[in-house]
Every structure is written in structure tokens, then in C-alpha cells.
Symmetry: C2
Subunit: 126 residues, 2 copies
């Protein structure tokens, strides 16, 4: 169902994603917005923004949840076909605009494929 009322928490969280082009981890949001929004609220708002196709989520290599702005997603088609890149040095994650074709597998019906690429980002290559 998603967002019905425009609340302060929702505005604050949307601002976080407007000012950053990269993905943001929920744990990071909780730390930074601690004085302003409750942890449960953060989880609940992000969940709704994902339902609305505003954000998409995925887990990093540690199983931590991240969110990023959707560009081509909406609430009908929300497949996150693009891969995510996590820097092993600084931990930062970017959405890579690259359309990895979802592989077909015999005898199985494939819905989604999530790819997490690991390596060093531009700033961390010394």
C-alpha cells in the first residue's frame, strides 16, 4: 500500500536519498538520524518507500540491509536487474547501471537475480 500521509520522518528520509546518489545502509541511517527518528520508524518508512517503487533494497556481503533510489523501477516492475558494487576497503555501495541479463536455468522458473560485485572503488585504488 505504501505511503499515505506526508510526515516529517518521510520527508527527512527522502532528503537523505536526494542528497546522496549512492546506496545507504539502514544501520548508517539509524546512527545519523538517531536524535530525529526512531529506529522502528526508519525500518517501516523505508519498507513503504520500497513498496511504492521509490527505493529498492538489497543485502550487502555482511547481510546488512541497504537502500538506494530507484531510477527505472515502479511498483509494478521492480526487478533491480542492475548489479551493486561494494568497495571492500571503504564499504561504500554504488548501483551500477548495467543490465545483467537474468540467466535461464533448465527446469526452473527464474524471477530475479541479484548480483553483488566486490572490489575497490576509484578512491580506494591506491
Amino acid at each position: 500500500m505504501g505511503i499515505i500521509r506526508k510526515t516529517e520522518s518521510i520527508k527527512l528520509l527522502l532528503t537523505e536519498f536526494h542528497k546522496k546518489k549512492v546506496a545507504v545502509s539502514v544501520t548508517d541511517l539509524i546512527k545519523r538520524l538517531d536524535s530525529k527518528i526512531n529506529k522502528s520508524t526508519i525500518y517501516r518508512v523505508l519498507e513503504k518507500l520500497e513498496e511504492d517503487g521509490v527505493l529498492h533494497s538489497f543485502l550487502d556481503k555482511y547481510g546488512i540491509k541497504w537502500y538506494a533510489k530507484c531510477v527505472a523501477c515502479n511498483h509494478k516492475e521492480h526487478y533491480d536487474a542492475h548489479p551493486h558494487f561494494q568497495c571492500v576497503s571503504c564499504g561504500k555501495i554504488d548501483c551500477i547501471s548495467m543490465d545483467l541479463s537474468i540467466p535461464k536455468i533448465p527446469n526452473r522458473e527464474v524471477f530475479v537475480a541479484q548480483t553483488l560485485i566486490q572490489g575497490k572503488c576509484e578512491s580506494c585504488i591506491s
Copy 2:
């Protein structure tokens, strides 16, 4: 460094992977071997077997840790280039023997790519 001594726990855990070709979640192993091996020991043994290149690990769509037997891995080259397939109905995970090429990305140094494919397995397609 990996396994140094052949203990009962190690034998038991190796048996679990010999009799199954599919991946096994740590939580499942803990439930099934509860009376025989302590939870901490299970985590520690699996970690060592991964160091030795006997098993490889990955996280499923819920962030839960799974292990599977390595076929072409060893302690020097341990890249898990193959994708994993998780059935959204029964939760079972298989290693798919398909060599997805690791994508190259401009300005970044890429080490590993992990792909989790989601869909319905043969038994769950109705």
C-alpha cells in the same frame, strides 16, 4: 590455517555435506545436530573448512549463511564464480554450474561477484 586435527565434530559435519549435493544453511545444521555438536563449534568448523577450500559460503536472500561443497575451489583460488539458485517456495538452494563472467567496471578494480538467482525449483513449479 584451517583443520589440523580430525575430530568427531568435523567428521559429522563433513558427512552432512557428503550426503547432500545441495547447499545447507547453518541454522538448519544447528537444529539438526543440536544434540551432537555445539552451535559455536559448528560455526568454527565450517569457517575452517571454508579456509581449506572444502566448502564455500554465501548469504541467502534473508542474510542467512549457507555452505556448499566446493568442486573447483581450493585455498588459493576460491572465487565462487558460479551463481546460487534459491527457490522462493521451499527455500532450497542449489549451486548452478554456470560460469557467469565477472563484469568489468570502469575506474574500479573488481575481485568477486556473487549472484543469487530466485525463482521456483523443479519440485515447486506446479
